[in-house]
């Protein structure tokens, strides 16, 4: 196997790992007091002790709520083959109770190899659900309802939640309702009678600490000897990795990453970027790789689109900024043109463009969301007359002017003018 081949192979392996949540989160399953073992205890006690339960997983996006849940379910299904069936609903898709009930029936039928009819009414589907709950309970089978985006199920009369949670109050059923939500106030959204039926078991998923991030990085990147790669390559790769992990600069990179966004999904994105940058000749990690990966991950879209603006567009932006600074109540294309003309008159700039050219540039800015129409006013008017607002902050605009390749000095001056 050539060196390049080995590196490609290693890259492929690492990428598979990063994109496989069950590998990434198995890191958390080792810890005994983690959400993983808590959740596993709750669900498995329902499986083995024939009881109903409900739980709510809360935490910011990207902290692995669903991933951990999937891991737990997978594990339990291995332990109790054929005894658990999972029904997954998503608030974005099934927020309406009729649609949700149909989806539940569909998934139940699929799971138990029954025939599903699309024509069945809500009533039929809910009786079906109730009898399924009963039958499954009698056969010692556990139904796990996963309600992703739990908060969206709380809109309206909360019929679905009421029905599900009320069904859990019968002795024959054996089911777990797991809600997943990123809203911290998800349990407050429940109606009183629904809240009373909900068990209020809450599992909180927090941002991992920076030590955890470090260890997770190691867990993901470390190659093991049984991975099918040549041993000497694995050894060099790992020593290099350990050296990097001990390096203060590397820690600095991880900290910068976590400064803005410390979620696991963000870290994974970063690592994926880094692995993709891996040199296919040597196949060894280096600090530079991580540095450039960091830059790729932390992009500033507004800033970049400002940098790509033409001179005329910059003129327009500065004009609007000046008018906003003067606190003129409305600003539209026509008033902007007036300002532009006055600037041209005072400074006798070389680049003065015709009105229709300016309109094109103005529309381009609107498309880029650097400008936007003020809402609520002047619908139905043509572009020239609708009031607009700047969508970039002044410091940003200033910064962009400074770093622009060919920004005329006049603009700098104009920009500084009012800021004083």
């Amino acid at each position: 196997m050539g060196a390049a081949n080995v590196a490609e192979e290693a890259k492929r392996l690492l990428r598979t790992r990063i994109t496989d949540p069950s590998f990434v989160f198995s890191f958390f399953s080792q810890n005994s007091n983690s959400n993983y073992s808590n959740l596993k205890y709750i669900i498995s006690s329902s499986v083995t002790e024939t009881c109903n339960n409900s739980a709510l997983l809360m935490g910011p996006r990207g902290c692995g709520k669903i991933a951990i849940l999937e891991l737990v379910l997978e594990e339990l299904m291995k332990e109790h083959p054929g005894m658990i069936s999972v029904i997954k609903l998503n608030g974005l898709l099934h927020g309406d109770s009729k649609c949700a009930m149909k989806e539940i029936a569909r998934q139940l039928c699929l799971e138990h190899e029954l025939v599903f009819s699309k024509m069945a009414s809500y009533d039929d589907n809910s009786t079906f659900l109730m009898s399924m709950l009963r039958e499954c309970g009698l056969a010692h089978k556990t139904l796990v309802f996963v309600l992703d985006e739990f908060d969206l199920f709380t809109q309206g009369k909360q019929q679905l939640l009421y029905n599900l949670l009320d069904a859990l109050q019968t002795l024959t059923s054996q089911a777990v309702v797991v809600g997943v939500s990123c809203r911290m106030d998800a349990d407050q959204l429940l109606e009183k009678r629904v809240a009373s039926r909900f068990s209020h078991r809450k599992l909180l998923f927090l941002h991992p600490s920076s030590e955890d991030l470090q260890r997770l990085t190691k867990h993901i990147l470390q190659l093991s000897t049984d991975s099918g790669l040549p041993n000497d390559y694995v050894a060099t790769f790992n020593t290099r990795l350990y050296k990097l992990l001990a390096d203060e600069k590397f820690k600095g990179i991880i900290d910068t990453l976590a400064y803005v966004d410390a979620t696991i999904s963000h870290l994974l994105k970063f690592l994926f970027c880094a692995v993709s940058l891996l040199d296919s000749k040597s196949g060894i990690l280096s600090l530079d790789i991580f540095k450039s990966a960091l830059q790729r991950v932390q992009r500033q879209p507004k800033m970049e689109s400002l940098k790509d603006c033409s001179i005329l567009e910059l003129y327009i932006l500065v004009c609007i900024k000046r008018m906003e600074a003067k606190e003129q109540d409305t600003c539209n294309f026509n008033s902007m043109m007036k300002e532009y003309k006055s600037i041209h008159d005072t400074f006798q700039t070389s680049d003065y463009y015709a009105r229709n050219v300016c309109l094109r540039a103005f529309e381009h800015l609107l498309d880029q969301h650097l400008l936007s129409f003020e809402d609520g006013k002047g619908h139905g008017q043509s572009t020239e007359f609708r009031p607009v607002k700047l969508l970039v902050t002044w410091p940003e605009l200033h910064l962009a002017l400074k770093s622009h390749r060919s920004c005329p000095t006049v603009l700098h001056k104009l920009m500084m003018d009012r800021e004083g």
């Binding site: 009533d123 009698l138 059923s173 911290m184 410390a262 500033q300």
Partner: protein, 799 residues
């Protein structure tokens, strides 16, 4: 909890009288029968193969039997030729004492169904369990010792006490044991032989004395599949005057697809969904198949007692628990008056049809089978077809473990689903409901009877009404009260408020129609002066979550509450809702019809909650008294919701159990007591809002942003701020304290993420600079969370 049985056959005149139609009644020990003398238990491997064979035979034969019973049932040896004459006469006598049932099924012309048949002096009625002769075993069923002998001295029990080994089910005189026992020991008992076998020693049971062959009891024969057991589903006489019965087979674990599982009890049998029509001659005598609770309570029923917890599906080879609630219902129905019997009969015959239909399906070529498959399970018609499929292929071990720990029992008792035997603390309200309903029913002209029950969730409103109805039902059964019909609907379980009419009509009449039609019928029933409705019973309508039925023009409620005022309606309405002021919110014409009778279920106070919890935990000693009090005081202070209190205790028990399992110590000696710490942890989980923890674990930039929000709030006094202003102050914070400022775009993203978690309320991020932000929690919370932040100590000076 192990269901076990001590046999204490004290004397010869034991109540079980074995009556087979043909055998002589005294237990003869037949010396000629020697083919199957070996005890059934020790040689499992040989038996298993034998059982497998017999299973095949058995299934085939039974399906045949259900189609053409006459062709299959030949009893070569047993009935002497002279007997039938006598028997027929006896049967004719028995008809007089039976109760005729109307049957609307298509068999009605041919068959006459009976509730009770006296056959050879023994009464049989549907629901009884009996031994059934097996055809291939005809030679051996002519002797049937019904008393078991001591396995050591081979003498029947006599006056001495015998004990049964839990392993091999052999009986022993207490005195014959070595060492002899004086009394029956508590708990499981295993005889010396089995104990020795378990240790791997060769065991030799005592040889029977010369000239005396060992005989097997019916129980032994059944458990070694030489006999069958079945439940009598129905009894009838066909046109020729022969008596038939429909058998529902029981099956022993060896005959199932998975074979005997390690957790099976020795006396366990499974109920099957396999039926057959047999002649009365096939019945040997009664046996007793019991549900787990009956079995654990049974003491002295003799040897023919079996344990049945599961139903076995012969088609799918799967197991299913038999729901005990159903059995109760059956019993109630069985004891009911003639009228109720009728209704039950209808369902019976329907299911019968269904089964026959099923059988036809099996035989007929694939075209028909296909049509049955195409019936969707979630449509109304499909329910019967699909759901039998669901069943466990194997009964899981954990479901059968009977040595629950105290904690597990406590958890089970605290489940919301567990129905307590008594409802403490609601006596006054229940009395009031009872008097209301009784007054309404007993009154000839029950005009305008409405009761409005209100109270916060979890105060036992529905439960109280249902338990009152249960009590009344038993009074009706005793004949102390006029029969009535009870309809229960739940506002939130209806697809739309209008569906209420069709649901009510369906419950009353059993027909399903659209809601407009149903409304028309209901109006006819309740409003018309001299209506022709046969059903003159008063009707009690329980409407749960009444407030959900309030529509724009409130016509639903108007109708429900208007019917009782009609002279011939005989309708009583009980409405349940959470809000106290529902009548005030309604239109005046409705609230006036609602009347003044309302009942308030106040929130429980802490003593009541404490009582509720401790009644549930009676007999289970694993909660500290103080801990219960703490939980109930906490809940009483917040909501007075009993569900919440129970959940807290259950969660606390769970936490304690979890801690025990994690420590992995063998705690058989030390008992686990759920203490204050567990309750406190449970309460914390339940009531504490998680936002403080989340804020503490946030990335640094989010913390700075939140601090800037608080700062902005104090500076301007306005709760709302724009991203523009916020960004300026964040940038200012960063530059003065030597932190890097990652740019406006990153900041915007951070703000939006906080908005997703609802720590901030934000406008969509596309508004960028103009985006408005607002704290969703009190600024004090944020300050508290950020005060002692280790990563960014300088934050404290801004907040």
């Amino acid at each position: 909890m192990t269901p076990k049985r001590r046999k204490q056959i004290s004397s010869a005149d034991d109540p079980i009288v074995p009556v087979t139609p043909v055998t002589s009644s005294e237990p003869s020990i037949a010396p000629r029968r020697s083919t199957r003398l070996t005890p059934a238990t020790p040689q499992d491997s040989k038996m298993a193969s034998l059982h497998q064979q017999s299973l095949n035979f058995y299934v085939k034969e039974r399906t045949g039997a259900s189609n053409s019973p006459l062709s299959v049932l030949k009893f070569p040896a047993s009935p002497p030729v002279t007997e039938p004459e006598k028997k027929r006469r006896r049967r004719d006598n028995s008809t007089a004492s039976t109760v005729k049932r109307n049957d609307k099924s298509r068999n009605a012309k041919r068959k006459v169904y009976y509730r009770k048949v006296v056959f050879d002096g023994v009464e049989f009625s549907p629901g009884d369990d009996v031994y059934v002769k097996r055809r291939d075993d005809a030679s051996s069923d002519d002797e049937d010792p019904e008393y078991e002998e001591c396995r050591v001295c081979f003498k029947p029990a006599g006056t001495r006490i015998m004990i049964e080994c839990d392993e091999c089910l052999n009986g022993f005189h207490l005195k014959c044991l070595k060492p002899p026992l004086n009394e029956v020991p508590e708990g499981d008992w295993i005889c010396n032989y089995c104990a020795a076998r378990k240790l791997g020693k060769p065991v030799k049971f005592p040889e029977p004395p010369v000239g005396k062959k060992m005989s097997r009891t019916a129980r032994e024969k059944l458990l070694s599949s030489d006999l069958w057991a079945a439940r009598i589903e129905s009894l009838w006489k066909d046109v020729e005057g022969t008596f038939w019965w429909r058998a529902r087979w029981y099956i022993i674990p060896e005959e199932t697809a998975v074979g005997r599982q390690p957790h099976n009890l020795r006396r366990e049998v499974y109920q099957t969904n396999d039926f057959a029509d047999l002649e009365m001659e096939s019945i040997i005598r009664h046996c007793f198949v019991m549900s787990p609770t009956e079995f654990s309570n049974a003491g002295n029923e003799g040897d023919d007692v079996f344990f049945c917890e599961y139903e076995y599906d012969v088609k799918w080879d799967s197991f299913k628990r038999i729901s005990e609630l159903d059995n109760d219902k059956d019993n109630v129905k069985g004891d009911d008056s003639d009228h109720d019997w009728d209704s039950c009969d209808n369902t019976d015959s329907r299911s019968e049809d269904e089964i026959e239909y099923d059988d036809e399906m099996k035989k007929s070529p694939s075209s028909k089978a296909f049509s049955s498959r195409s019936l969707a399970a979630n449509s109304r018609k499909g329910h019967i077809f699909g759901l039998q499929k669901i069943g466990a292929k194997k009964i899981p071990e954990h479901a059968r473990s009977r040595n629950q720990t105290d904690l597990e029992r406590a958890k089970a008792a605290l489940l919301l689903a567990t129905l307590p035997e008594s409802l403490p603390c609601r006596d006054r309200e229940m009395n009031e409901i009872t008097t209301f309903i009784k007054g309404a029913i007993c009154d000839e002209q029950c005009l305008g009877r409405c009761l409005y029950i209100h109270g916060v969730p979890g105060t036992g409103k529905t439960m109280s009404v249902l338990s009152v109805m249960k009590n009344l039902k038993s009074e009706v059964d005793q004949g102390a009260l006029r029969p009535y019909c009870f309809v229960e609907i739940n506002g939130l379980k209806l697809p739309s408020p209008e569906h209420m009419y069709s649901v009510i009509y369906e419950r009353l009449s059993g027909h399903k129609v659209g809601w407009k039609k149903a409304l028309q019928f209901l109006n006819e029933r309740f409003c018309e002066e001299n209506n022709s409705v046969k059903d003159k019973r008063p009707c009690i309508l329980l409407v749960d979550e009444l407030d959900l039925l309030v529509t724009r023009n409130q016509s639903m409620l108007y109708n429900i509450l208007d019917w009782p005022t009609k002279p011939n309606s005989k309708l009583v309405v009980i409405g349940i809702a959470n809000t106290m002021d529902l009548p005030e919110k309604l239109l005046p014409r409705i609230s006036s019809r609602m009347g003044i009778q309302s009942l308030c279920f106040g929130p429980y106070n802490y003593q009541q909650l404490q009582e509720i919890i401790s009644t549930r935990l009676r007999g289970i000693d694993c909660f500290e008294k103080l801990a219960i009090e703490f939980a109930s005081r906490k809940v009483a202070a917040v909501s007075g919701d009993a569900r919440r209190a129970l959940e807290i205790c259950r969660r606390a028990a769970e936490l304690a159990d979890y801690a025990r399992k994690r420590s992995k110590k063998d705690l058989k000696y030390g008992k686990i007591i759920v203490g204050m710490a567990d309750i406190e942890a449970a309460i914390k989980e339940m009531f504490q809002a998680p936002h403080i923890q989340v804020i503490r674990s946030c990335p640094k930039l989010s913390k700075i942003l939140l601090a800037a929000m608080v700062h902005e709030l104090y500076k301007t006094g306005l709760s709302e701020t724009t991203f523009d202003k916020l960004a300026t102050s964040v940038q200012c914070f960063c530059s003065t304290n030597g932190e890097s400022f990652p740019g406006h775009d990153a900041l915007l993203k951070v703000g939006c993420k906080l908005g997703e978690c609802r720590i901030l309320l934000t406008e969509p991020g596309e508004r960028h600079k103009l985006q408005k932000l607002q704290l969703n929690y009190p600024s004090d919370d944020v300050t508290f969370a950020l005060k002692e932040c280790k990563d960014i100590p300088w934050l404290a000076k801004y907040i």
